[in-house]
Subunit: 206 residues, 2 copies
């Protein structure tokens, strides 16, 4: 019998951890200390790929016997990247900008295997907000939910009411594109090893 | 100060209740005893609208001082409606049918207000499954997650890994299209009353 393979999520986001847990994976969390604001890349895809790689590499530097997962998510609208709002006023301004129109959410993923092999991928989802009433924006900002979230909203919280349609991967909007992750993982690990990490039996490859 | 408005969800689905709770609404659950299998309607939209209305009306018959919400969700592929699988074999067959292609999820919603006014609406979301490995289907069926779910999967559970993209409302796929619900509610209740039901202040309409 093999040792159970080890996965490390290089992120302190409770939403990412909840998604990975939901699909049965057993993993450890070691958040990286990469400064997100230090990334000057203005192209959304290059931005999330660069930051996800930096986060994975930072954690990988201290841990060898595990596969490390780095992720970065941003919201982009009309060519402008929206990060986490710094104040109530900034939250209001971001939500007014998103109201009644579509924006894009990008997540970059980087996986570094035990031998140092590195794979990256990204996901883009179009998200459409219905036209919000001013009281909805005010109440939502008062709830303080926007403050730690790119684009000033969390689709898995109260802002679920704002989103009338999306095109693409839903879990990408929450911050961790599960299906893309699985496909990247398949390039580094055989099925038996993936099944073991998911707590499914002894890992026999059939 | 007005009495707090009352909402009743006419459904025993824990997933619907969790979604409605997530957005801050306070409500009661009174499941209807409508026999879903008794609906012979083969058009998906008419099917979910008819059943959501029957469920709301059944509960409404016993409760007057509240707004009642009925909902029904089905999965449809190539003109065939997939209900809840009856066995492991049926679960496997449904998942094989969904693997590597798109299907549609429909939810009908019916709201009956305190005065008896009734509004209905529906939502359709296209869901695409990536091509599944046989071991993924086998493991998923062994988890018993498919058994109580239309189409034999739950996007909010382990099957999240199977879905690579959707077009439309995500919450519809879970079983309760939140944004559509809010828009229907706005036709029956003024903003101040909605805010009270969401636990947001005294319900002053501004």
């Amino acid at each position: 019998m093999q040792d159970k393979p080890k996965l490390i999520l290089a992120s302190h986001s409770p939403r990412r951890a909840a998604l990975l847990r939901q699909t049965g994976f057993d993993f450890e969390i070691i958040a990286s200390t990469v400064d997100e604001a230090g990334c000057r890349e203005t192209d959304p895809v290059r931005h999330v790929l660069a930051l996800s790689a930096l986060k994975a590499q930072a954690v990988r530097a201290n841990v060898k016997e595990a596969l490390v997962i780095g992720a970065d998510t941003i919201v982009s609208t009309s060519g402008m990247i929206l990060g986490k709002p710094g104040s109530r006023e900034e939250s209001c301004a971001m939500l007014e900008r998103l109201s009644g129109r579509s924006h894009e959410v990008y997540t970059g993923l980087t996986l570094i295997g035990e031998c140092g092999d590195q794979v990256s991928g990204h996901e883009m989802t179009k998200v459409h907000f219905r036209k919000l009433d001013p009281w909805e924006i005010r109440d939502y900002v008062n709830s303080r939910e926007p403050l730690d979230k790119a684009g000033a909203y969390g689709i898995q919280g109260r802002a679920a009411l704002f989103v009338d349609r999306i095109e693409g991967c839903y879990f990408n909007v929450v911050g961790f594109p599960l299906s893309r992750f699985f496909q990247l993982l398949e390039t580094l690990w055989p099925p038996g090893k993936i099944r073991m990490a998911m707590g499914l039996g002894e890992g026999t490859d059939e």
